[in-house]
């Protein structure tokens, strides 16, 4: 019979004891950790009953009416999402499959039930889940955070659309107005007389040029400070052609100081052509159209200086203007010039009305070319434009009436469709 050894059990115990001592010593010797961790794993333990209920009915679908690369995720907000509730916000996670790794792609504040993910590739499948989270922050650091995740959505693929259905009402409006314009152009071509009311400013163009001729002074034509990409500048330049032709016939010097180089190039062509049409191509001087500066107030200062020194008899302002409009118009008034202005900038119209003798308001500027030339096709387009305006007037009257009685369907037609 052999005796049981007392060493082995003691060595095992001693080893366990020694290891425990070493672990305890290591833990005791560590510096206390003052920094508050920011990752979920190292946050403080949250208090009880702070986890919000997960959001429900999470759906993901291709973002409609876009260029692709976007998926819209919607959900019903958590029942704990209310004033004083447990929801700080929602985190949205994306994965390529239910069993794949999910990445957090965005965070929204509480009360929000939608998120658009713009970081997807067309044709690839994605799945989403939304987590309602509750967090506590102190001194800008997150102390604790808890969340509850929703179910995973069905796979969804993003794609680009070929038609933006939100703009269907704009398309209908454009087709209506363009059709009206086309029809009246055709009608005008057939020789039918079209009535156009008198526009005082345009009736007095001849008078203004005549006055300049009698006084032996210059005419100034200011085509605005925008570039050729602005429709008002095109309208102004068109009027320049007519005014330059009249000035050429009267042999009166017309000066066109411009603010943009491309406008200078176009205006030179137009004035030269106008002189040719008036039968006086030799009277054209290339320096009549000249560039000043792109800078708004530098331009105004230069124009003012020219007005004060050269004292023109007639000044035309036709185009897009901003704050410099009154500076130029008042100076023109102070030197005694007859001033005719036309602009589609609503903020500058009052200044021109106060300082100029005649003002073309808004669409009258765009009608000027048709008015001065009396060309049937141009007059026809004005008529078509008027039909569009009549339709809008009727819609406004009907809309006001219907809305007064609580019927909003008509006005909703004119809103951006979601």
């Amino acid at each position: 019979m052999t005796e049981e050894s007392w060493v082995l059990p003691n060595i095992k115990t001693a080893l366990i004891f020694l290891i425990s001592i070493i672990c305890f010593a290591l833990a005791a010797g560590q510096e206390p950790d003052d920094s508050i961790p920011t990752t979920q794993d190292t946050l403080n333990t949250p208090p009880p009953n702070v986890t919000p209920v997960m959001p429900k009915k999470v759906t993901a679908k291709d973002n409609p009416n876009d260029e692709g690369g976007a998926i819209v995720i919607t959900w019903h907000i958590s029942v704990d999402d209310h004033e004083g509730g447990k929801v700080t916000g929602y985190k949205i996670y994306r994965g390529t499959g239910p069993d794949q790794k999910f990445t957090e792609i965005g965070t929204v504040t509480s009360g929000t039930g939608t998120f658009v993910d713009h970081g997807v590739n067309d044709g690839e499948k994605y799945v989403y889940k939304v987590a309602a989270f509750n967090s506590f922050k102190e001194n800008g650091r997150t102390v604790w955070e808890v969340s509850s995740e929703s179910n995973i959505t069905a796979p969804v693929v993003s794609s680009a659309q070929w038609f933006d259905w939100r703009r269907i009402n704009v398309l209908v409006g454009v087709i209506f107005v363009c059709t009206a314009i086309f029809l009246y152009i055709q009608r005008a071509k057939s020789g039918k007389e079209l009535y156009i009311r008198k526009i005082a400013g345009l009736e007095s163009v001849d008078e203004a040029v005549g006055r300049a001729t009698e006084m032996g002074r210059k005419i100034f034509f200011i085509p605005g400070i925008n570039d050729m990409d602005n429709v008002q500048t095109i309208a102004g330049i068109t009027i320049l052609g007519r005014v330059a032709q009249i000035a050429a016939e009267y042999e009166t010097w017309i000066e066109v100081p411009v603010s943009k180089s491309l406008v200078m190039i176009t205006a030179k062509e137009i004035v030269k052509e106008a002189y040719s049409k008036a039968g006086r191509p030799d009277n054209y001087n290339d320096d009549q159209v000249h560039y000043l500066t792109d800078d708004q107030f530098g331009y105004a200062a230069a124009i003012d200086g020219m007005f004060v020194r050269e004292k023109p008899a007639a000044v035309f302002y036709m185009g897009a203007f901003f704050a410099e409009s009154l500076i130029m118009a008042e100076t023109g008034n102070s030197v005694g010039a007859i001033q005719i202005a036309g602009t589609a900038m609503p903020s500058q119209l009052p200044f021109f009305v106060a300082a100029c003798d005649y003002t073309l308001i808004g669409e009258e500027l765009f009608a000027a070319s048709a008015y001065l030339s009396r060309e049937p096709r141009l007059l026809g387009s004005l008529k078509g434009q008027d039909i569009g305006k009549a339709a809008i007037l009727i819609a406004i009257l009907l809309g006001v009436l219907l809305e007064t009685f609580g019927i909003f369907e008509l006005s909703n037609l004119f809103k951006v469709i979601d």
Partner: protein, 217 residues
């Protein structure tokens, strides 16, 4: 063909841009941005044409000693000064403390602000001259301007308190009503008319009916 080619290009580009507004699919959604970038590039290159034209005319005035030729000297000297200082500053020419920055902050900015400030004087003189009660419309304009001017500054309500006006007809309340309803209605009407005018003019240009901007009929 000198005018036909620009007309064809105008028509094609115009129609494409109308269509692109309704098509979000690539490349239609990018066309606006690309063309806008190209226009900026062309405009920036074209600025040299304008600058050279300005220098040519100014130099000609100085050479021929035309009336007020001194101002042309100022133009030439200013232009050359800022161009040379700007180029001499290298890629960081806009940094704080450079010559260009000094000229911008201490010369150009005060000059711009001064020109803008002239508006205050010109508004006053234009009002003094234009706001006369010649007829009914002018009187309405005058009364509205009066109410807005007095209602938009604290002095208006101070006067209202002196006159013991009820809160609902204080100058600021009436001015607010005019701005929010009467003015808003007028602005809307003008904006709608302008928008239709732009549609009509653009259509005329696209279809080639309006050709004056190309250099005549």
């Amino acid at each position: 063909m000198r005018r036909e080619i620009p007309l064809i290009i105008t028509a094609f580009v115009g129609i494409v841009f109308i269509i692109q507004y309704f098509i979000p699919h690539y490349p239609f959604n990018r066309l606006n941005g690309w063309f806008s970038d190209w226009f900026s590039i062309i405009g920036a290159c074209a600025i040299w044409l304008g600058a050279l034209n300005l220098m040519k005319i100014s130099a000609d005035r100085v050479y021929r000693k035309k009336r007020d030729w001194f101002y042309s000297v100022v133009i030439i000297v200013s232009f050359l000064m800022i161009t040379i200082i700007g180029f001499a500053g290298g890629p960081d020419f806009r940094d704080y403390g450079t010559g260009f920055d000094w000229l911008y902050r201490l010369v150009y900015t005060p000059l711009s602000a001064t020109m803008f400030a002239l508006l205050a004087f010109f508004v006053a003189s234009a009002s003094y001259r234009a706001f006369r009660a010649r007829n009914l419309e002018a009187t309405l304009l005058l009364v509205a301007a009066f109410i807005i001017m007095i209602g938009r500054v604290p002095v208006g309500d101070a006067i209202g308190k002196v006159l013991h006006l009820p809160e609902s007809i204080m100058p600021s309340q009436i001015a607010g009503w005019i701005m929010g309803y009467v003015n808003a209605a007028g602005q809307r009407a003008i904006m709608i008319g302008i928008a239709l005018g732009i549609v009509s003019t653009s259509l005329r240009v696209i279809l080639g009916i309006e050709r004056a901007h190309l250099g005549g009929d």
